[in-house]
């Protein structure tokens, strides 16, 4: 195997590992906001890693370019989902973890549900 | 173990959760997870067209369900005692077991998984692409060999949209 395939496989491996870690975080963390932190971020990063790995593995071919094309859109859409969900959860009145340190959002006006 | 088996178990658990969860939205979300499982299964079974369609149709179904729950309510109103809840479940489990046992003999008799009986598809695979010019043989089938089905399917969608317009209209029923 050429060097680029090894690099690609390594990237994919890191990505898959982070996917698994993110899902583990989803299981282990205490409340919805922390779970969103662990889940969406690690998984997005991991998936980007996989796509990047494919780009390395395949080089600049149709295959690789499609993988490359996915990355910016993934980076655009996935945080939006997380943000909307966090905001929605807050407005639905789901409380923070009881060991949370502070909450400066309650004072603001838009935090209350319309 | 075959990854498909794991995915199928996941789907079955999802289905059970969809039917037995506490509130409706959880059930709907469990249905979404089952749909994801189906998508992954399509991927494994070499059906990229279906994986593509299934995932987006799943999202649409999810949205329609959420819209319905938004209009109606999320609560299941009937409160019933434990024995009332337990009895149908046991009956259901027995029912499922019975059906599965009755299917067992049939499943034994069927050709093994992975050995497709290619009869109608043989000529399509052999020269379908050359005859229709479509490299995607699934498209060749749905829009050429079995195009009538597609016409019917589009009509079904049209009819359903018409029906939804009729059922959810804001005007009165009678003039």
């Amino acid at each position: 195997m050429a060097w680029n395939e090894w690099v690609g496989l390594a990237f994919i491996g890191v990505g898959v590992l982070f996917d698994a870690l993110g899902c583990l975080g989803l299981l282990r963390f205490p409340d919805i906001y922390n779970r969103l932190q662990a889940g969406t971020k690690c998984v997005t990063f991991g998936t980007c890693g996989i796509l990047l790995g494919i780009l390395f593995h395949q080089g600049i071919t149709t295959f690789g370019i499609k993988a490359l094309l996915g990355i910016p859109f993934l980076l655009l859409t996935s945080p939006v989902g997380a943000h909307a969900l966090a905001r929605g959860a807050y407005k639905a009145g789901i409380p923070l973890w009881d060991k949370s340190v502070m909450d400066e959002y309650t004072q603001s006006e838009s935090s209350r549900a319309e | 173990m075959n990854p498909l088996v794991i995915i199928l178990i996941l789907m079955i658990l999802g289905a059970i959760l969809a039917l037995e969860s506490k509130d409706l939205l959880s059930g709907i979300i469990a249905m979404g997870i089952m749909g994801f499982g189906l998508t992954l299964a399509f991927l494994f079974l070499r059906a990229p067209d279906l994986a593509l369609v299934q995932i987006i149709i799943e999202t649409m179904t999810l949205i329609l369900f959420i819209a319905t729950v938004k209009i109606t309510s999320n609560q299941e109103t009937s409160e019933r005692s434990i024995s009332h809840r337990l009895l149908p479940r046991i009956a259901g489990a027995v029912f499922i077991l019975f059906l599965t046992l009755s299917f067992y003999r049939v499943a034994e008799e069927l050709p093994k998984f992975g050995e497709a009986v290619i009869r109608m598809a043989a000529p399509i695979l052999a020269y379908g692409a050359a005859a229709t010019g479509s490299a995607n043989l699934v498209t060749a089938v749905i829009l050429d060999f079995r195009a009538l089905d597609t016409l019917g399917e589009a009509t079904v969608l049209f009819t359903a949209a018409l029906g939804i317009l009729i059922v959810l209209r804001h005007e009165g029923e009678k003039r």
Binding site: - | F103, L110, M120, A147, D149, G152, V156, L162, E173
Partner: protein, 497 residues
């Protein structure tokens, strides 16, 4: 051969044009739909004369390769043409009746478009020689009938339609499952081809299972007795013309017709199946009749009666003899006519008086003479009094039972017929007989177009007995019965050797 496609293209095109341009033609929509259906009926008659039956049409020009069909095939034989004639004729009459009776509803052009789509779906089912195409068109007609049932959007309509949808949806799934099993075994979807492949295989359990699935699925659509629970809700809830078409043709085309075709031409009609059909038919016949006797709501009474008549058809078809098949087909045609007429009558009564409870009705004889006369004809016909059409078909069924060596079944059928008579005497007595009541001051006979529709059907009720005459019988009923009674051998007619 190309003309066969018009049975699908013309209704679909009409429906679409009605939706797009309906705003300008909504006044004429009923007449347009009626004319289109009549034209299709004429096309059926033309098909009888021109073509050598049976024949198949390869859709899209994909002819079989080395005897293996690779596309969709339409199968046209006597049975198909009989069903097509019934569907389109009833469609025309129902559209004619709808002109005045549906006037008070909004979204009328969509109603007519849905009627067209219902006709399209049933035409597709009748023509299909391919399992999956049958399923797709089944869904079209099923979905449009769900919507039509709830067209008025009242609470009961919605609930009945929901029930209908849930049971119909699970029935569709069972049918699809059976189709998948067939494809797993044979690798083909063409009914004739699949039957040919299966004849060389031994897969008894699977075929048993498949047959059970088909019987349950189509039985649900046809409302055979253990699976009937949606029908007494859905048919009364619908607007009168819709219940007429539902009871008249939909349950037959979506239920009985595919069942006959599949069991005779594909699964093989022998062994356990004969017994199961006879038992199911006998149960539906008797229990539904008893239940019908207990009803006070006119339309519910008629709906239960539909189930019992379906029971007759199932028994006749289940006998498996040629005479039985002829009797069953004859009864199917008759039932289409008189049940539509009866639902028209019920609709007329409801339209005129505002309710349909027999306990409150009475003395309509003088106020609504046309309705009275036609309903009398229809009631006698369905109860099997000579010389109306129902008598001949029931007589044939009983004779067929005797000849096939089931004398008990013949007595059972005669008994059921008497119960039907009792139910309809109740209908006549409480509805039209008795003293005048005070609400009748403002009652008028229904409008002219509805009267025409009822009179046409009444004349047919009287005249359907002519189908027994040798010439007509050999032209219309026998080709249909012939193709069924050939059983599995008929498949060679569709595909050649």
């Amino acid at each position: 051969m190309n003309t066969i496609a018009y049975f699908l293209v013309v209704p679909l095109g009409t429906a679409l044009l009605l939706v797009i341009f309906g705003r300008w033609v909504v006044r004429w929509a009923g007449i347009i739909v009626s004319v289109v259906f009549s034209a299709l009926t004429a096309l059926v008659v033309q098909c009888y004369f021109i073509n050598q039956l049976p024949f198949t049409v390869a859709v899209g020009g994909w002819e079989p390769v080395q005897g293996i069909p690779l596309g969709i095939h339409w199968v046209v034989d006597g049975f198909t043409l009989l069903m097509l004639a019934l569907i389109n004729f009833t469609g025309a009459i129902v559209a004619l009746y709808s002109i005045s009776s549906m006037k008070s509803y909004t979204k009328l052009r969509k109603y007519y478009a849905l009627l067209m789509l219902l006709g399209l779906g049933m035409n597709g089912v009748a023509l299909a020689g391919d399992l999956f195409t049958m399923y797709v068109f089944l869904e079209i007609s099923a979905i449009s009938s769900y919507i039509l049932v709830a067209f008025g959007r009242g609470a009961e309509e919605l609930e009945a339609s929901f029930k209908y949808q849930v049971l119909g949806g699970s029935a569709s799934m069972l049918i699809l499952f059976a189709i998948a099993l067939v494809y797993r075994l044979t690798g083909t979807l063409n009914i004739a081809d699949a039957s040919r492949v299966l004849s060389g295989q031994s897969a008894e359990m699977t075929m048993l299972f498949t047959g059970a699935l088909f019987l349950t699925g189509f039985g649900l659509k046809a409302a055979i007795m253990p699976f009937h629970s949606w029908l007494p809700d859905a048919h009364p809830a619908a607007p009168a013309p819709v219940s007429a078409i539902l009871s008249g043709v939909v349950i037959k085309v979506l239920g009985i017709y595919p069942l006959c075709r599949l069991f005779y031409h594909f699964i093989g009609f022998e062994g356990v199946w004969t017994g199961i059909w006879l038992v199911l038919g006998a149960i539906s016949l008797m229990v539904a009749n008893i239940l019908a006797l207990a009803q006070w709501d006119i339309k519910r009474l008629l709906a239960y009666c539909s189930i019992s008549q379906i029971g007759y058809i199932v028994i006749a078809m289940g006998l498996g003899t040629e005479l039985g098949i002829i009797a069953g087909l004859f009864h199917m045609a008759n039932h289409t006519i008189f049940k539509s007429l009866l639902f028209f009558n019920a609709g007329a009564i409801e339209h005129a008086t505002g309710f349909r409870d027999l306990r409150k009705l009475g003395g309509l004889r003088t106020k609504m003479p046309v309705t009275y006369a036609t309903s009398l004809i229809a009631s006698f016909s369905i109860a099997g009094l000579p010389p109306f059409s129902g008598f001949w078909s029931k007589l044939l069924i009983i004779i067929a039972c005797m000849k096939a060596g089931h004398p008990f079944l013949a007595i059972w059928a005669a008994l059921g017929s008497m119960l039907t008579l009792a139910a309809f005497l109740k209908f006549q007595h409480h509805g039209f007989g008795g003293p005048d009541k005070e609400y009748q001051q403002s009652i008028k006979e229904v409008s002219f177009s509805s009267q025409i529709a009822m009179i046409i059907l009444a004349i047919l009720c009287l005249g359907m007995g002519c189908l027994m005459l040798p010439g007509l019988r050999s032209a219309i009923l026998e080709p249909a019965a012939n193709i069924l009674s050939q059983g599995l051998n008929a498949t060679t007619l569709f595909l050649g050797n």
